[in-house]
Subunit: 207 residues, 2 copies
Amino acid sequence: MNTPTRGPGAEHEQRRQQIADAVLAVAAERGMAAVSQTSVAERAGVSPGRVQHYFPAKRRMIEAAFDRGNALSSARIAARTGPDADPRQVLTTVLTELVPHDTVTRAHMRVRQAFTALALSDEAIAERMRREYERFHGQIADLLRQGQDRGTVPRALDPVERAVSLVALAEGLAYYVLVGIHPGPAARERLLTEIAATYTPDPEERG
Amino acid sequence: MNTPTRGPGAEHEQRRQQIADAVLAVAAERGMAAVSQTSVAERAGVSPGRVQHYFPAKRRMIEAAFDRGNALSSARIAARTGPDADPRQVLTTVLTELVPHDTVTRAHMRVRQAFTALALSDEAIAERMRREYERFHGQIADLLRQGQDRGTVPRALDPVERAVSLVALAEGLAYYVLVGIHPGPAARERLLTEIAATYTPDPEERG
DNA sequence: CGCAAAGCAATGTGATCACATCGAGAAGAG
DNA sequence: CTCTTCTCGATGTGATCACATTGCTTTGCG
């Protein structure tokens, strides 16, 4: 009944996650270039041997970390939006969560930026990135479509195209905040303004 | 009268540029991680010794490449806009040049993305990045202000804030094109739409 | 209890890195 | 022509890397 410590039913997945988390932490703090068996093991508080045991190839470790980052991000956003049904509120939360405003979101966006660069020279990561964005843009587009059904978003607007623009803007602003080009609150305001412009540009039709 | 091949007046700057160009080429083709004395020397067609001679510290080589990239970018955009006086045309050219559409722009944006990631873990690059963006955002804001003076841009609009948003959008879209998330022409269209929305949202006031 | 296998720490290996060092050769100065 | 100084190719060095190998320890199982 108790979890086996060995064999196919062992806590492998938990250990792998622990290591993947360490990869994310190192990437957030010192960039992808600092990710090595040694640094990851140290950060995870395990031996380098164990890291190698769970990830015989570094490539797989990076990919696992990428997936882990996406899972954590989804979980965080799901927790943040809760069971809210209002699509505009959900959209606003999802997009503003991209703009760094605390330790967790800062770390997350630093990791995202690291993978973003990696995707340009690593086809496996690039493919995952494409799938991830297809999902993400689709989610935002769906929220806009729900708005259209409720009449709060103009029918003339292409939900996918608008979703792409909103996310691109949010990520561009997120980087400015990360590197200190633009203050976080101002970036958030810019984003909220753009979201507001998406909803009922003609204010008299609200019901 | 002829250029000395040695001493303080030698063709040092030209050699340094040649090496910096090789750094940019390697970064564009294989990412910053592939930039080393060996790879750069090979790409530049010179000996590793010469690379080390001109850049005793790798850090300086990277910084020189960053500056060189900015100089090349400015020159390319200046050549592209020409002596045009119409601020909207200039703004459109500058922004759409950010979206990859040929070999040169693709390479340039790949390099830019590489430095973008580097800035998050290298304070010297981050500082240069901040200065570079301050200049860039300022340039776009100036173009918008000229539009306001001509009455083609609403006075109510904050030029700096709008400039930041436009550039952020353009860069976000540029990345989507680079990694194959979004087609280039569509990204360009999205950008043109956003630029159009900045100019005279009320079409009847045009003279 | 004994044993086969799994978990995993420790160590080895060859490559590559940034950077140091050295010396040959070229070019200007006297 | 000689000498000095700059250029820069060649080679050395120690660190770090990903990954291979080895073998001890633990665990489940008969």
